[in-house]
Amino acid sequence: MNDLVIATQGLSKSYNGKPALRGLDLEVPRGAIYGFLGRNGAGKTTTLKLLLGMLRRDAGEIWLLNAPIRSEMDSVAARRRIAFVTEEKELYPFMNVGQMIRFTRPFFPTWRPELEKKYLDVFRLPLNLSVSKLSKGMRTQLMLLLAMARGAELLIMDEPTSGLDPVATEEVLQALADLAAGGNATIFFSSHQLTEVEQICDRVCVIDDGKTVIDGVLDDLKSQYRRVVLVFDGEPPQSVASLPGVDHLRRRGRTVSLLAHTDIDGVVDRARELAPVSVEVHAVSLKELFLDHVRGE
């Protein structure tokens, strides 16, 4: 588990007998900005809560910062070095911004006052304003400040930019990128915003129905995968569905779109044997990769 900030093996969790995670394997290397993607209900939030000890796992193993998490005390020790930004961005409504900072600071011996000051300025958060009066965007910024200033080695974020306007989103993404670039912080964040993930993440994992369907370095994935688009002059032949080397296939009228990541030339050659009127090969975006893997045919 060297240099892995998060590792899970066979992580499983069910709610009332309904599986949410089915043997999830994750490996997040130190220093990565790791995008954790999936549809609603795919198991993203369940995974984050399992990592932080908010849920109990049914099966599997978790390692955080190279240490196994087998008891509450293991989890408490790991959380000293971890920051979590929740999806709802709920903080204590009975405190103001300054009180929230003063409350959080003593829990973390590695608190960095210079980052606290920097992000107070960047996010323009007034110290005396009550948390109950903050907009969702400001609550997100305060939560990010509390997460980043604690000097955590791992930041776990659940939809960190949800509810933010484009300017605030950009500020947050920039802050995350700066943090990752400036030290050994690893950022693990779940999101539905594929363009944001593509903008700042160097690795991605897509889960669907509680299992990993894609995992790897984003640039490698984008260079490995190709879309092969076949256009036929009539109904596409049934044999197109059984072409070897094809990961996913979509049909729309006379057009068939194939996604492949190994032996692209072989796939193209075999596709030509089906006599399409045209064959085109395209690079794929993260969005296409995501949609093909979670929708399939």
Binding site: K49, L52, G53, M54, L55, R56, E72, M73, V76, A77, R79, R80, I82, A83, F84, T86, E88, E90, L91, Y92, P93, F94, M95, Q99, R102, F103, T104, P106, F107, F108, M143
Partner: protein, 230 residues
Amino acid sequence: MLWYKAWLETRWRFTFLIGSILVVWLMLLWLPSLSSVPASRQWVGLQLGSVLLYMFAAIYLAGGGINSQTLYAVTSGFHGSMLFTLSLPVSRRRLLFVRAGLGAILTCSLVVCMAGYILFRRAEPVGALQSLADIARAVVCTMAVYALSVLLACVLDEMWQFMGACLIWFAVFLLGSRFAPVARFSPIRGMSLSSHPHSSATPWAAVITSAAVCVIFTCSSILILRRKEY
């Protein structure tokens, strides 16, 4: 800092309780018709009022803060600020200890002040030792009510915790008024001070039951909170 957070969460409840007591006390002082009520009936009224106050304080101060959930939050699957709290490097046992501990301290301080005032108002003077024993008894028995309320706060939303605790103690009161054995062990009996005008024997059965209930419910709360999923 957890004590500071717990105080911020509880301070308005505590202020509300103090304010309510003051209002009732001032009203009683200014009611001219009260002076015509015989002292023994005044004493019974004071006892009944104080027991109700102890129970209300115990139930009210135990609510909120442990789960930090609103009804909206529970029904929509959110957990309010609890997820932020759980992400801190603090065990759940310590979270419960601090939150319930502060509520217990505030409840005890109210009981001690009220019981002390009532003893001061007692027509027949009693020894300091007896007064202290009476106050300690009221505190132990009130803590049984508090421990049950904390347990309910660990499993129920705030509104249901309050209503559930009220219902349970109302049932205990009714059963106690019908069946003597229940009354003997009931914490409610232990909460009231010695009868007027002569001191009765200390209700040890109620005190021991209350202490046992307190330990059992506190341990149960810890176990429930440690296993609870958010």
